[in-house]
Amino acid sequence: MFSVLHIADFALHAVLRTERDTAHRPAALFAGTSKKSIVLAANPLARRAGVEPGMTAPQAVARCPSLIIRAPRPEAENEARAVLLAIGFTLSPAIEDTAPGICTCDLRGLRLAPEPLAASAVERLGELGLPATAGIARTPLLALYAARAASPSEDAFNWIEVERDLPSSPSRLRRGEQAMARRRFGEGGRARSIGGRQPDGARRSPSTILCPAAGDGGIVSTRTAGSGDPALQRSHTGNVGQGLPTPPSAAPRGIAPERRGREAPPCRNSTLADTDRTELAAERWEEASPSPHDTIVAEDVGLSARDAVLTVADEKHFLSPLPLAAADPSPELAAILDGWGLRTLGDLTALPRDEIVRRFGGEGLALWQRAAGGAPRPLRPVVPPQTFSAQMEFEHEVETLEPLLFVLRRFSERLALELQASQHVAAELHLALRLEDETQHARSFRLPEPTADVEILFRALHTHLESLTTAASIVAVALTLTPARPLVRQQGLFETGLRDPHGFAETLARVSALVGADHVGTPRREDTHRPDVVTLAAPPAVVSPPAAPPVHDRVGLPLRRFRPPLPARVEFTEGRATYLWTEHVRGEIAQQSVPYPSSGDWWQRDHAWARREWDIALAEGGLYRLLLVGDAWFLEGEYD
């Protein structure tokens, strides 16, 4: 069995998922940013507002003033592709990056039922901003047909109604239906539809497991419009990504234009550099694209992830009603077959294969095989990533925290998935922010315990960023995780490790942000006699057992230091200090100890130190340490 995860309008969703608050607003992807650029894709809300592919920007905005206009972004598509593959790895270790927005998974050997897994993957993709559908079938091609058919389009329901009554000739369509079909699928719309015809005319449940026992020819539900993905189909013949949509003019009227490139509309990452050619291609692609409507995804119509999974159990009955265009015939071949009256895949496969081969040669054989659902094939496996990094340049400079956090959240989610897929955890995070003034802010976070938990990874970033102020706005962000093997050590029964290591790290980060990183930690005394030399180290993960008590207990009270020592003025009477003045403490000195001289580092220039100190008691109460350095008196601390 194979499963295909399919994201319709991949380029549009790839861009939208990088921004906040775009999921429930009308949005469209344009070929460029100029006024003459045309709509390449529109989300369901935009389409409901009247925005259709092929419109220019002014036309689209006139219909939908609140339209979000975005241009294709290759790095966003790369990020979305990485997400799709990471999710694919949750289904199978053998996956193929078939085409943009299409991931094929080899489920052979899987002992679990594939449907719940696929539903879970679809749901997870939805959470990550990529509405998807999934198909499960015997061959990769069939699975793709199913994934496309699972696309829960509202318009697909309407189309089913049209298609159910559809006569063999377009001329028999009712006027409105003809207009609808032309608008949606171009002149060749009827011929390019797949699925949807239901012998009993009943609308089926979106949940779609096909079986012959249903009493309707085995098709429980093929309720959506769609068509074979040329990009995918090219992959079967080794031509993935080749070519542009065939100009509609190349196809005879009434014949489906070729749909190559539907999933890969010309965009900035296209191999085509020429703008005009790109726009022309986009226009053609738009014209060729049969179903902007089939991109309405499960969440848009309130369907669950389970509903977005389609399993093909009876191939013959699933394939038979699919239009011939699903198999992606060449325009010439399509014209000929249409002239023969062949409308569906079933019509074609009903003919003897050898006769097709005798008349059309290899091209005919390939078409017949695609019409029959193809055959299982070895996938071109994707190697799990060995490095875990993500980067993005912002379309607009970022000056507030929210958009940055949103992107980092997306990064964290994807990287955590990849870590889990490769059986790794993150030991360290490296965050780099490129600023508008050409400077860079970089920070590394060492995690207290390596983890692949997205919440913990994100919290570490969030804690740092919420106290960060940059000199300029942010134009790009990069996040890199250092992978490590998960810890397998079991803690001892009496070990006192941290209850919540990540919580402790977060608390430390917050306190560090408040007081400064050099003002928090576990004190460590330096190996020197110089007074008040102490460093702060990171708190240990495990508190060591206490050492044996010292042989001789300490004497006296601990010192409460003044930092810096308070400058003091001391009055002497007959060689004894009798009165003390400082900023905070003053009074008659009632008792004093003998002086305690100390010095050190005399062998190092500029580091030598020498001092004399006295312990004194004031008459009004209070024990203090008086200090003489050179000729200056200080009050160093209070014994408390």
Binding site: T507, D532, V543, A547, R554, L557, R560, R561, V585, D615
Partner: protein
């Protein structure tokens, strides 16, 4: 009716009216300081204890060192929020620093914020907020709700929060002790263990009866 009686009556009525309000568990943590443990059984957990150091050299730091020693024995982590950066690690055995998180603050406000963060961490068993040398004006400016916020932060945890102040300042403190007498010059020649045993913090306030947990 006296003000304290009115307050007690109000508390009783509130307890009857809102029985679901979480009650502070009567759990204590013995400190090893005889006078303190005899008075309340120890430091109340999930609550604030205020130590008023009313006189210079009254032993506030000595008490802190004793708390460090007790927590070191149980390997319980301690945070010291030092509002005036006055803690002297050299005055303490190095082994007593192994479990200490020292936060060197630059003022009272910063110390309160740090204490608020640390009081919510489940990894700590004791948080000491040292405001002993905080300026009087700073202490006066701390709004009452901030202390109750600290109390609310501590309530769901298992830690004890100790606040050292120069005068009574924490309205939400469940227990308040006072160190009123200065040490004399001779104590500088005496063993610290003896001085610790002689510490005599006087109980000034105890909001409710605390059961000794041993």
């Amino acid at each position: 009716m006296a003000a304290s009686a009115k307050l007690a009556e109000l508390r009783r009525k509130l307890a009857e009216r809102f029985p679901s309000v979480p009650r502070t568990a009567a759990r204590v943590w013995p400190t090893g300081i005889a006078a303190l443990d005899q008075a309340t059984g120890g430091l109340p957990l999930s609550a604030i204890t205020e130590i008023v150091c009313a006189a210079p050299s009254c032993g506030g730091h000595l008490l802190l060192v004793q708390l460090l020693a007790r927590t070191r024995a149980t390997r319980t982590r301690v945070a010291l929020v030092d509002s005036t950066n006055c803690f002297d690690p050299a005055s303490v055995e190095e082994d007593l620093l192994a479990h200490l998180l020292w936060v060197r603050c630059r003022g009272t406000h910063q110390a309160l914020q740090a204490a608020d963060l640390l009081a919510r961490d489940a990894n700590l068993g004791l948080v000491v907020l040292d405001l002993r040398r905080a300026p009087e004006s700073d202490l006066r400016r701390i709004p009452g709700p901030q202390w109750y916020r600290l109390q609310r932060a501590v309530e769901p945890t298992d830690l004890a929060l100790v606040v050292e102040t120069p005068r009574p300042s924490v309205p939400s403190a469940q227990v308040r002790f006072a160190l009123r007498s200065s040490h004399v010059f001779a104590v500088l020649e005496r063993e610290r263990a003896t001085l610790t045993a002689e510490l005599a913090p006087a109980l000034q306030r105890q909001r409710q009866q605390i059961a000794s947990a041993g």
